[in-house]
C-alpha cells in the first residue's frame, strides 16, 4: 500500500500543478473551446457562396436559360456580368471570382441550328481544389441543359435520375464529421503538451532532484506522470463528446464503452510520445518545439482533413506511426457507424503497440539521463 500512497500524492500534485495556476487553467480551457468552434465551423472543404463572372455575348434564349439555371443553383452567391474578356481576366486574376462562364455570340443560334454550341468555363487553377468542385457544379448544370435540349428535340423528357443515398449522415452535415474528429485531436493536442512539459519543467525548476531523492521509484514517477495527462485527456474528450451530442446533435450510434475502452490505449500512446519528448528535452522550449514538431505531421498524416488513400504510396506507411490515425477510425465509427467490435480491436492493437514502444523508450531514456 505504501506505493499507492506515494503514487496518489504524485498524481494529486501533478494535477494541482496544472490546475492551480490560473494561466494554466486558461490554457487548458480557452484554446480547446476556440478550437472546437473554429475547426467545426471554419475547417470545411465544402464550397459555398461562390462568386462567378459571366461574359455573355449571346442575346438568345438559350444563353438566358443557362444563366437562369446557374443563378438558381444554391452554390453561387453572385454572378457578375462583364463586357469584355479583359475584364473577365482581371476579375479572375485578382481572385474576385473563382470561375468565369464565357458564352459566345453564336450560342443560341448554334443550338437552334443543331450545331454544337461552344461554351467556355474558365477556372482559377490557383485554388485547384475549390475550382474543381465549382467546375463540377457548372458541368452538371450544363449537362442537364444539354440533355434537356436533346430530349426536347426528340420530344420525350426522360433522363437518368441519380438518387443519392448518404449513409450515416443523410444531410452530409459537416460538423458530424469534424466534431468526432476533434474528440480525437483534442486529446492529442492537450495530452502531448501537458506531458511533454511535465518532466522538462521539473528539470528547469529544480524540483526533479527532489523527486529523485524521495522514495518514489522510477516506474512510480513515470506512472505518476502518465496518469494525470490521461485524466485531463479523458476530461477533454468527455466534454467534446457531450458537445458533439448535445450541441452539435451528432448521433452516437455505437458503444460508448468501446470508445472509452480504446481511448485508454489512445491516450497511453499520446502520453507515451509526450513523455518520450519530455525525457529527451533539457528545457521547456525544447519540449514545446518537440511536441510541435510531432504534432503537426501527426495531424496532417492522420486522415484528419484529407483521406490517407489520397497520399502517395511511399508516404502512407509513415501514417502508421500516428496514433491519431487509428483513433479517428474508432471515434468516427462509434459516433456515426456503430463500428463492429473486431474493427475497433483491429485499430486499438496498433495503439497499444505505440504506447508500449514509446513508454518503454521514455523509461529507458529517463533512466539513462539519471547517470
Amino acid at each position: 500500500m505504501m506505493w499507492w500512497i506515494r503514487l496518489k500524492a504524485l498524481i494529486i500534485k501533478e494535477l494541482l500543478a496544472i490546475l492551480r495556476d490560473p494561466r494554466g487553467r486558461l490554457i487548458l480551457v480557452g484554446p480547446p473551446i476556440l478550437q472546437l468552434l473554429v475547426f467545426s465551423y471554419a475547417a470545411t472543404l465544402e464550397v459555398k457562396n461562390v462568386d462567378i463572372v459571366l461574359l455573355n455575348q449571346d442575346s438568345g434564349a438559350w444563353s438566358q436559360e443557362l444563366v437562369n439555371r446557374i443563378a438558381g443553383a444554391p452554390t453561387f452567391r453572385s454572378i457578375e456580368r462583364v463586357g469584355s474578356s479583359e475584364a473577365l481576366r482581371a476579375r479572375i486574376d485578382a481572385q474576385q471570382a473563382i470561375a468565369a462562364v464565357h458564352i459566345g455570340p453564336t450560342f443560341s443560334r448554334d443550338i437552334a441550328a443543331g450545331r454544337a454550341a461552344d461554351l467556355q468555363i474558365i477556372l482559377d487553377g490557383r485554388r485547384s481544389n475549390a475550382a474543381q468542385i465549382v467546375a463540377g457544379y457548372l458541368n452538371q448544370i450544363v449537362n442537364q441543359l444539354s440533355a434537356d435540349i436533346s430530349a426536347g428535340r426528340r420530344g420525350a423528357g426522360q433522363t437518368v435520375i441519380v438518387v443519392p443515398r448518404n449513409w450515416f449522415n443523410p444531410n452530409l452535415i459537416f460538423q458530424w464529421f469534424m466534431v468526432p474528429n476533434l474528440v480525437a485531436a483534442i486529446a492529442l493536442l492537450i495530452g502531448l503538451v501537458v506531458t511533454a512539459l511535465s518532466i522538462a519543467r521539473e528539470r528547469e525548476l529544480g524540483t526533479f532532484d527532489q523527486l529523485m531523492v524521495s522514495p518514489l521509484r522510477t516506474h512510480e514517477i513515470l506512472i505518476g506522470k502518465v496518469i494525470p495527462p490521461m485524466i485531463i485527456g479523458t476530461f477533454h474528450m468527455t466534454i467534446y463528446i457531450l458537445a458533439a451530442v448535445f450541441v452539435f446533435g451528432v448521433p452516437l450510434r455505437g458503444s460508448l464503452l468501446m470508445l472509452y475502452g480504446s481511448s485508454i490505449f489512445y491516450l497511453l500512446s499520446v502520453v507515451g510520445v509526450g513523455l518520450f519528448i519530455s525525457a529527451l528535452s533539457m528545457t521547456q522550449q525544447q519540449a514545446i518545439l518537440g511536441a510541435f514538431l510531432f504534432m503537426v505531421p501527426a495531424m496532417l498524416l492522420s486522415g484528419f482533413a484529407t483521406p490517407i488513400e489520397n497520399m502517395p504510396d511511399w508516404l502512407q506507411p509513415i501514417t502508421y506511426a500516428s496514433p491519431l490515425r487509428y483513433f479517428l477510425v474508432i471515434v468516427r465509427g462509434v459516433f456515426l457507424k456503430d463500428l463492429p467490435l473486431d474493427e475497433a480491436v483491429n485499430n486499438t492493437l496498433p495503439l497499444a503497440l505505440i504506447a508500449f514502444l514509446t513508454l518503454a523508450a521514455a523509461a529507458w531514456l529517463f533512466r539513462r539521463r539519471m547517470e
Partner: protein, 386 residues
C-alpha cells in the same frame, strides 16, 4: 548645476552611437540564432517537413477514390454506363453484382461510395418511368461524400449527354470547353506549397520571435539591457532585423525546394516574391513582439503564438479551406489574419505571374496590420520593469 560635469562621459552626438548599438544588437541576436539548435529547427527543419507533407502528402485531389460499382443486371446499357465510371479518372472502381458485397467496406471506410445500377435500369431512350441509379456514399466524411456524389453526377451527366446525342445522331448540343487557368494539371501541390511558405514565415516571425524575447525576460538579460543607453526602439529594431532576415532566408529555402524539387512553376518576379514576403513579416514579427512583451513567459508565449498566429494562418487564411464557405462571423475574423492576404498573392506569384493591383492591395493591408501591431508592441515594451 553640476549636471553636465557629472555626466561628462555622456554621448553628445548620438547618431554614431545609435548605429553602433543597433549593429551590436543585431550581431548578438544573429549569433544566438546560429547557436541555438531550436531556432534552426523551426526555421529550416520544420519548413522541410511541412513542404514534404504538403508537397506530397496532403492532397486535396480525390483522384483515387475507391468506390464499389454494383451492376445488378448486366444489360448492354448498364455496362455502357459502368464503362463510363471505370474510365473516370476520379474513381478506382471495384465491380460487383450485389450491394451487400460493399456494404461492410463502406462501414469500414474501405470504399467511399457504392454506385448501384439496378436491375430495372433500362434503356434511357425507352418511354415510361425515368431510370434511376443509386449512389450510396459514406456520409461520415462529408468532404469525400460530396466528391463522390458530384463526380458520380458528372459521370452520369456526361454519359447521358453523349447517349442523347448518339440517339439523336447529333453531337451534344453544348460542348463545354473547360479551362483551368494557371494550373491546368490541377496539382494541389501548386497551391499548397505557396501556402505552406506562409505558414513557415508565421512560425519564424511569430512563434520563434515570441519565444526568444520571452526568454530574455525569463533569464533576466532584458533588465541588464534596459539599464544601458539602449532605447526601446533600438531594442525592438535589433530583434526585428535578424528574424526578418531569418524569415526571408527560410522563405527562400522553401521557394528553392518548391521550384527545383517539387517542380512548382514560378511565373512571377522575384521582386514581387520578396516584396510580399517582406510585407508579411512585418505583422508576423509585430505579433511575436507583442505576445512576448505581454506574457514574458515562454510557455504562455508559445501557446498564444500557436493560437493567435499558427492556427489562423492554417485555418482562416484560405490556405486549405475556402473563406467564402465559412460562416459570416468567421469571415469577418479572417480579415485581420495577415496570411489571408499573403497566400492568394503568393499563389499568384508562383502559378499566375505578377498581378500587381492585387499584390499592392495585399501589401497595403499587411503593412497596415503590421504598423498597428508594432505600435502596440512598442507601447508594451517601454523601458520599465514591473
Amino acid at each position: 548645476m553640476s549636471t553636465e560635469a557629472l555626466v561628462g562621459t555622456k554621448e553628445t552626438a548620438p547618431p554614431t552611437g545609435r548605429a553602433r548599438r543597433f549593429t551590436a544588437l543585431v550581431r548578438k541576436e544573429s549569433l544566438q540564432v546560429i547557436r541555438d539548435p531550436s531556432s534552426i529547427l523551426i526555421a529550416f527543419v520544420l519548413p522541410l517537413i511541412l513542404l514534404v507533407i504538403f508537397g506530397y502528402g496532403v492532397s486535396l485531389d480525390a483522384t483515387r477514390t475507391r468506390i464499389g460499382l454494383v451492376i445488378e443486371n448486366a444489360t448492354p446499357i448498364a455496362q455502357d454506363l459502368a464503362a463510363s465510371f471505370q474510365a473516370s479518372r476520379y474513381f478506382e472502381v471495384a465491380t460487383g453484382r450485389d450491394r451487400r458485397e460493399f456494404e461492410e467496406g463502406l462501414i469500414l471506410g474501405r470504399v467511399r461510395g457504392i454506385v448501384v445500377i439496378p436491375t430495372n435500369f433500362t434503356d434511357v431512350g425507352a418511354a415510361g418511368s425515368s431510370p434511376q441509379i443509386q449512389v450510396i456514399v459514406d456520409g461520415s466524411d462529408p468532404n469525400t461524400a460530396n466528391f463522390v456524389q458530384n463526380y458520380a453526377q458528372g459521370v452520369v451527366g456526361t454519359w447521358m449527354a453523349q447517349r442523347a446525342a448518339e440517339i439523336a445522331m447529333r453531337p451534344p448540343p453544348i460542348s463545354v470547353e473547360q479551362r483551368f487557368w494557371f494550373n491546368p494539371e490541377l496539382a494541389s501541390r501548386n497551391f499548397l506549397v505557396p501556402g505552406s511558405i506562409a505558414i513557415v514565415m508565421t512560425l519564424v516571425g511569430t512563434l520563434l520571435t515570441s519565444l526568444v524575447v520571452a526568454r530574455e525576460w525569463e533569464r533576466g538579460t532584458m533588465e541588464a539591457m534596459m539599464a544601458t543607453p539602449v532605447t526601446a526602439t533600438e531594442l525592438l529594431a535589433g530583434k526585428i532585423l535578424p528574424y526578418f532576415i531569418l524569415g526571408l532566408a527560410s522563405m527562400s529555402l522553401c521557394v528553392l525546394i518548391a521550384v527545383f524539387i517539387f517542380g512548382v512553376p514560378f511565373r512571377g518576379s522575384v521582386l514581387a516574391l520578396y516584396a510580399l514576403s517582406a510585407s508579411f513579416l512585418m505583422p508576423a514579427l509585430g505579433q511575436g513582439l507583442l505576445i512576448s512583451a505581454a506574457t514574458k513567459n515562454q510557455f504562455l508565449a508559445s501557446q498564444l503564438a500557436l493560437l493567435s498566429a499558427f492556427l489562423p494562418a492554417f485555418l482562416l487564411s484560405g490556405f486549405l479551406f475556402e473563406i467564402n464557405s465559412m460562416p459570416w462571423i468567421i469571415r469577418i475574423v479572417t480579415t485581420i489574419v495577415p496570411a489571408r492576404y499573403l497566400i492568394p498573392s503568393l499563389q499568384s506569384v508562383f502559378v499566375a505571374g505578377d498581378i500587381w493591383p492585387m499584390f499592392l492591395r495585399s501589401i497595403a493591408v499587411m503593412l497596415t496590420i503590421g504598423v498597428v501591431l508594432f505600435i502596440l508592441a512598442a507601447r508594451s515594451t517601454r523601458k520599465r520593469i514591473g
